[in-house]
């Protein structure tokens, strides 16, 4: 039988008519077909970060040997994650602690070297007892001589005291399990991580390593330690091996260049030999971020390097290296601070084709208390022996073996810092990817919000838009991004917004920090004030020379927001742009002065602080740069 396909003639006519013109609906309204570039759902096009997530990528617990063996045995990874999520946790010294608001994410980054020694001693684990030295330290701890055991461990320095692969594996597995338990995609991200703790001759080269992945992959390796190698290049190879064998991803975050005595950003390999392309590419790939603010000092810049930056003298710890083994000299500073390295990176890119120092800027705590506190009025200290007490301001964090003038004292520490990430959602992959693309910034511990976009086509009007972020992504790039090949005659322009923490200090100003490389291969830096609070004016040189003032009542450890502004924003176009010159731009936001932890201690304990004690300071945020590259 033949199948015949026929349609009534009237229907055919209707279909033909329909194809020729828009369908006429019953009510007479016209149905306009959607343009080809539009899709039904409006949301895929709005798939950009809508909010910022605050966290700490650098927290130690009792599983770090320098914390646990020194007596911090109470707050382990589980408690650390609970605390970050907002729970009340009892500190080592028996004080109840809680964050004002929970963090969005946390990396427990315990030292890889003899990971877990203290807790494993405490539970008399056979993996410790089977080694004579492990047994000895175990017995010392159990006999109440834990501090002596800690000093013995410390004196080994970079030499491996003993080997217990069994302990490392078990401790690592416990840390990973704690992260797995507390990771709640969408609500709280518990990253898996560790710290590689290399400090040859006391010169700090430490890196925190963060996994993008879950326990299934992380447990296939154990942390790479400074006992394995003190060379960063070897750490990067370990990261390569991990990624190749598991399909996972990692990144490394260096910190405390200020304690490296000139080794942090040195332009040679660890063994002193010359850089090559492999080295430069590996560094750029592995280290997208640098932690420039934390309890042990600020690493943005130094007054010696930036004499025209009146805000450069902030949170400096610049007398010596990590162990106080040698004094610092001025020639070391250029290889220690981030702004200088960002500038050097532009020049190095000419030599190697890749910028080895193309990194974003973040902060984190490096606390060893298991408590990710970074607020001046709620600071539980860098280590348990500088938890709140009437005496802590007199304490020494790290005693120099050669000269008491080189001690790192408690008064020099600051309640800092935090990392903020603009991401699409609160999950390991989303936050990790945002950190890798440097859409992240650091604060000195407050939850100040800042957002910047750079592009060629922004206008003053874009500032007023209720679609700030959408315009930013449509017409430009966010922090961490790249601008290339300036369109004819155009200079880059920037949209910046900043808002203080909800109950925090108001904002003083927003600044653009620009660094560039001239045609003679020399680097320069310049600061522009782009928004200031109140009636103050920005002069023709782009600066506001009027200080915001200070409302801090030192005796009362209080301040008022009668100066400054809760929110500032700016549209700024580079007035000195040269399209031939490589450049970077990052944002620095300053708050009005607020009381330091020393002022809060003085008030709470009724102390009289010695003359010259820093009782107020201007907290701040630093964004990752936006780079301009002519080609």
């Amino acid at each position: 039988m033949r199948f015949q396909f026929t349609l009534p003639a009237s229907l055919c006519a209707f279909l033909l008519a329909a194809l020729a013109s828009p369908i006429t609906l019953a009510q007479g309204a016209k149905f306009e077909p959607a343009p080809k570039d539009r899709i039904y759902s409006p949301y895929p096009a709005e798939n950009f970060p809508r909010r910022v997530y605050f966290g700490d990528t650098h927290l130690h617990t009792s599983y770090s040997t320098d914390a646990g063996m020194a007596g911090q045995e109470k707050v382990g990874p589980d408690e650390a994650y609970r605390f970050a999520k907002g729970a009340v946790v009892e500190s080592q010294t028996g004080q109840k602690a809680r964050l004002r608001a929970p963090l969005d994410f946390l990396v427990v980054a315990d030292h890889a070297e003899l990971l877990g020694l203290a807790p494993f001693i405490r539970k008399s684990d056979p993996s410790v007892l089977n080694d004579p030295l492990g047994k000895k330290w175990h017995d010392m701890v159990k006999a109440g001589k834990g501090y002596d055991a800690f000093i013995e461990w410390l004196n080994f320095g970079s030499e491996k005291p003993f080997d217990s692969p069994e302990m490392t594996k078990s401790a690592w597995s416990e840390i990973v399990d704690a992260a797995e338990k507390h990771n709640q995609p969408g609500a709280f991200t518990a990253f898996i991580g560790f710290e590689w703790t290399s400090h040859p001759d006391g010169n700090n080269l430490h890196r925190v390593v963060i996994f993008r992945d879950g326990g299934d992959k992380a447990k296939q390796v154990v942390p790479f330690s400074a006992y394995d190698s003190e060379a960063p290049e070897e750490l990067w190879k370990y990261m390569d091996r991990y990624e190749q064998s598991t399909g996972g991803r990692m990144l490394a975050i260096p910190h405390n260049g200020n304690l490296s005595n000139g080794r942090f950003f040195e332009k040679k390999k660890f063994d002193g030999s010359k850089w090559d392309r492999n080295y430069v590419e590996a560094r750029a790939k592995r280290e997208p971020l640098v932690e420039i603010t934390q309890a042990k000092g600020t690493g943005e810049t130094h007054p010696y390097l930036s004499p025209k930056d009146e805000f450069a003298d902030f949170g400096l710890l610049d007398k010596t290296n990590l162990q106080g083994s040698a004094p610092k000299t001025n020639d070391m500073l250029a290889n220690e601070y981030a702004r200088q390295a960002l500038k050097d990176g532009l020049a190095l890119q000419e030599t190697y084709g890749t910028n080895p120092f193309k990194f974003g800027l973040i902060g984190s705590t490096d606390n060893h208390t298991g408590l990710a506190t970074s607020a001046e009025n709620n600071w539980f200290g860098k280590a348990h022996f500088v938890e709140p007490s009437p005496e802590r301001y007199k304490d020494v964090l790290i005693k120099s073996l050669v000269d008491p003038n080189l001690n790192i004292s408690a008064v020099d520490l600051q309640a800092s810092g935090l990392v903020a990430v603009w991401a699409n959602e609160n999950t390991r992959p989303a936050l990790f990817d945002a950190m890798e693309r440097k859409e992240a910034y650091g604060t000195s511990g407050t939850r100040l919000q800042v957002r910047v976009f750079g592009g060629w086509d922004f206008s003053e009007d874009d500032l007023a838009s209720s679609e700030f972020a959408k315009i930013g992504y449509d017409k430009g790039v966010p922090m961490g991004g790249d601008l290339k090949s300036a369109p004819n005659g155009k200079a880059p322009s920037f949209l910046v917004r900043a808002m203080r923490e909800v109950e925090g200090g108001n904002l003083d100003r927003i600044q653009v920090v620009k660094g560039w490389l001239d045609k003679d291969g020399k680097t320069h830096e310049r600061i522009y004030d782009v928004a200031v609070s109140g009636d103050r004016k920005i002069d023709s040189s782009g600066r506001c020379r009027t200080a915001v003032g200070n409302t801090v009542n030192e005796a009362d450890a209080s301040f008022t927001n009668t100066i400054g502004a809760p929110f500032l924003q700016a549209y700024w176009k580079d007035p000195d742009f040269n399209p031939e010159e490589k450049a970077f731009y990052y944002i620095r936001v300053l708050e009005i002065p607020t009381p330091t932890w020393l002022a809060h201690d003085a008030k709470y304990y009724g102390l009289k602080m010695p003359k010259g004690t820093r009782l107020s300071s201007q907290e701040r945020a630093y964004t990752s740069p936006i780079w301009y590259n002519p080609s």
Binding site: A101, P126, S127
Partner: protein
């Protein structure tokens, strides 16, 4: 009925007592062995071999096994001799540790039991304020920057415009700020963390479905329109079971410890020099002691 028995402190004591007795009875180096004899059991040896094998993936040599055993023996001998010399008596650490162990035993008993849903429900019912589900709001907000010095009339006019323009994007009325223009199904704690203490409480007085304000935040003034609101309420067991179980366990542990202590304490007569009585609180126990 059963619940009542389980809660009975005397029963706790009997159970604990039995457990303590069982522990003593099975303790190594106990009765039946002479003063200077140490009996190593087959299980002791098996345990060492198993531990060693797990760690090193091979069997221990005779020397290694002997060394491991010798460690045990050494500890046992020193332990016994120390007891004989009474070294345990003047040692605050040993005393505290042993006292703690007694406490742990009672705590462990509380930990062993899995509570029924019924018990947890009872606990939840008697501690409702500890487990509340916060009120949640779905609302839009328009921010008014204090630097622009809005007058009352300005604010009223804005409210009027917002109320009249139901279908217009409210964000265009807002001064720039980095706060969300719309908060979807958000709990009061998050609202206060975003806008400042007291903001959520002020929302409670706002009508649903209509622009209202101004409400003061940490940043300035806001006009708000609540789309929907779920009042705070006591949590249901299914929502907070883990938290309730944790709290229940803690309460049980405390109760078991207190019960154990009370029952033991009752068996003791405490003698306090009369001259010191006036220094002490006149509790029941001490009055009784004072009468002795």
């Amino acid at each position: 009925m059963i619940k009542k028995i389980i809660k009975e402190p005397l029963l706790h004591f009997a159970v604990i007592g039995g457990l303590v007795f069982a522990l003593y009875a099975t303790a190594p180096g106990d009765t039946g062995i002479g003063e200077k004899q140490i009996a190593v059991s087959a299980q002791d040896i098996e345990r060492h071999v198993a531990l060693f094998e797990r760690k090193w993936q091979r069997l221990p040599t005779a020397n290694e096994l002997s060394a491991l055993l010798e460690n045990d023996i050494r500890e046992e001998i020193f332990y016994r001799e120390a007891l004989a010399l009474g070294l345990d008596r003047d040692d605050a650490l040993v005393r505290r540790r042993l006292a703690q162990k007694m406490e742990f035993i009672s705590a462990d008993i509380a930990q062993m039991r899995r509570p029924s849903d019924e018990e947890l429900q009872t606990y939840l019912d008697s501690n409702p304020t500890a487990f509340t589900a916060q009120a949640r709001y779905h609302f839009e907000q328009v921010y008014l920057d204090p630097a622009r010095r809005y007058s009352n009339a300005d604010v009223l006019e804005l409210l009027g415009q917002l109320r009249a323009a139901a279908s217009v994007d409210h964000r265009q009325f807002s001064d720039p700020i980095m706060l969300p223009a719309q908060l979807v199904d958000t709990d009061t704690q998050t609202i206060d963390r975003t806008f400042g203490e007291g903001f959520a409480a002020a929302l409670a007085n706002a009508p649903t479905g209509q622009w209202h304000g101004p409400i003061q935040s940490s940043y300035g003034m806001h006009l708000v329109r609540i789309a929907s609101h779920q009042p705070g309420r006591n949590a249901k067991l299914v929502e907070v079971r883990d938290a309730v179980e944790g709290a229940w366990r803690q309460a049980e542990r405390k109760q078991a410890q207190a019960a154990l202590y009370q029952s033991l304490r009752a068996q003791y007569q405490v003698l306090i020099p009369e001259a010191a009585h006036h220094l002490l609180a006149p509790t029941e126990v001490q009055v009784e002691v004072a009468a002795e």
